[in-house]
Amino acid sequence: MSIQESITRAQTALKEQPWRLFAGQISVLVRNGVRRNLFTRRRIWVYLLALTPVVILILKSIFNRDFNDPSQMENQTLNFAGFVFQLYYLRLGIFFACMGIFTWLIRGEIVERTLHYQFLVPVRKEVLVVGKFLAGAIVSIALFETAVLACFCLTYSQFGSAGRSYVLDGPGLSQLGSYLLVTALACLGYGAVFLALSLLFKNPIIPGAILMGWEAFAPIFPAWAQRLSVTFYLKHLCPVSLPVTGPMAIFMVVAEPVSPFIAVFGLLCLTIAVLVLSCFLIHRIEITYAAE
């Protein structure tokens, strides 16, 4: 068969797919997944994980009612970029929240013995994976974008009109946009990886710990290996350059700089590749709850 014939056949096959049905099924899966993961007591720890820095900043602003010296703004910007965003949210908060949310999407249904309901409806398993992934993505992005936005606002509100001016007239707004973009991409990247891990392992905690180590030490790996980490792409999109000395240095090791476009595109490709892997993996699942 020639390449042209293969392409024509693939195009015909794609056209014949019931895309409207798939879209309707995904919307139902997303709606049910969001309800199950966002509005539930089981996810209180994720709320805590997302909102702890917000609470700390609120308490700080309550007990420190005077506006900060505008000359401290650069320090605060570095602190926010380094400790709050890169250290806490990117490497801990989003990582662990995605681990909890995305590994539970399918593995949780096995534990609760309800996955068979999803397997007994006229839904392709690939559609199930995409629907579940989007539900997890919406939950994690909604929570962490809200938290990052709140932290950013609280950080600069401490500087009064100088802070307002930094955000509205200075680089603040574009920095905020970058933080929100990185947050969303982190949720997608980590989410896809944890969803795949949950389909590969009955207990994804150990592989999760290994992944955490991989993400932490990726900067010292060869360039090709760095590309297999989520933080490799996110680091290039963070809007504030951190000092290359001191405790924040680990975040700043960049072996091979890439453009923001490549970083976004690379992470989305990584996410899609891992999702495709999940689509293959879900076909291996059999409903034998007693064995779980």
């Binding site: 019931p18 049905l21 309707g24 099924q25 139902v28 899966l29 049910n32 199950r36 539930t40 609760e112 013995r113 309800t114 068979h116 309901y117 397997f119 007994l120 409806v121 006229p122 839904v123 392709r124 398993k125 059999e286 409903i287 034998t288 709850y289 064995a291």
Partner: protein
């Protein structure tokens, strides 16, 4: 060759869980009607149903349902409804949502899904409690809401794993009537049960299983014929039991003729029922004995089961 599009076909199906046998070399095809899978616990009934619906995959062989396989999930699950034995539900769901949302996944719009949901709830007798959380349902109610979900999309093949468990006598009778009504519409109803008397009454055919093997399948009477080497029992209620018993003993194929305690009949065990019935006709036409009733005494699933596997088919 594509198997018949009206049949359920198992082609040399085996399932192993590691080294543990689930089912082995299952070969049969089923026409529409009520088919019962009968066997003690662990005999492979649920495994067979899970294989049929794709919840587990066969280690060997192939399964076709109306010419479809589970590799075509959209077409397949529009035709198949499965009420499993898993007594678990999505957390926080109520009866209505439990049926409504899967129907939306079938591709039904809101109005159609709501209509089908209400219809299924009515048929399962659950309409009054549909808005209550499933977690607060009794075992029988949970069984019925699962049944309602399985029938809601009007499947052509209904697979029911122990569907009468936990139901009170009234609900049992209603469920049986529902299965019979569905089967009369030309659909497949595949039921597993160890309550042999109920299966016996409602089935068009049976599949008898033991230790992962199908030991017999077909109409109950056909299955009985398959075990011809085992004598069949025939109960004859008559006026002159001693005379009938002595006449019966003259036949080679009669192995036992026992006069009933009340003296008003004989229980005959014979290897050739047709020959015995011929003899009985002769005796009756000769006016030697007045016969009130003749009936096979063990032509039910339970007896067949005892012959085949030396067990009564009850729970192990």
């Amino acid at each position: 060759m594509t198997p018949g599009s009206r049949q359920i076909v198992f082609e040399n199906v085996s399932k192993f869980y590691g080294e543990v046998l689930g089912v082995n070399k299952v070969n049969f095809s089923l026409d529409p009607g009520i088919t019962s899978l009968v066997g003690p616990n662990g005999s492979g009934k649920t495994t067979l149903m899970n294989l049929l619906t794709g919840l587990i995959k066969p280690s060997r062989g192939a399964i076709y349902v109306l010419g479809l396989t589970t590799h075509q999930p959209i077409e397949f699950f529009r035709q198949v409804g499965y009420c499993t034995q898993f007594d678990s539900f999505p957390p926080g769901t109520n009866g209505y949502d439990f049926i409504y949302w899967p129907l939306r996944l079938h591709g039904f719009g809101h109005d159609q899904a709501a209509k089908l949901t209400n219809e299924a709830l009515e048929r399962a007798g659950m309409a009054q409690v549909a808005r209550r959380k499933v977690a607060g349902y009794s075992k029988g109610m949970r069984q019925r809401i699962r049944l309602a979900q399985a029938i809601a999309h009007h499947p052509s093949v209904l697979v029911l794993d122990e569907p009468l468990n936990g139901l009170d006598p009234m609900a049992r009778a209603e469920s049986i009537a529902l299965f019979q009504a569905i089967a009369k519409q030309g659909m497949h109803v595949l039921i597993s049960s160890h309550i042999l008397e109920e299966v016996d009454r409602i089935s068009d055919r049976v599949v008898l299983m033991s230790s992962g093997y199908v030991v017999a399948e077909g109409q109950i009477k056909e299955v009985r014929r398959e075990v011809r080497d085992h004598p069949i029992q025939i109960l004859v209620r008559c006026s002159n039991a001693a005379k009938l018993a002595s006449a019966a003993f003259e036949l080679d194929h009669v192995v036992e003729a026992k006069i009933l305690n009340d003296g008003q009949g004989v229980l005959v065990r014979t290897r050739d029922a047709e020959q015995f019935y011929l003899l009985l006709n002769k005796i009756v036409s000769g006016g030697l004995v007045e016969v009130d009733a003749v009936a096979p005494a063990d032509d039910d699933v339970n007896s067949i089961y005892q012959y085949l596997i030396g067990s009564d088919g009850g729970p192990a």
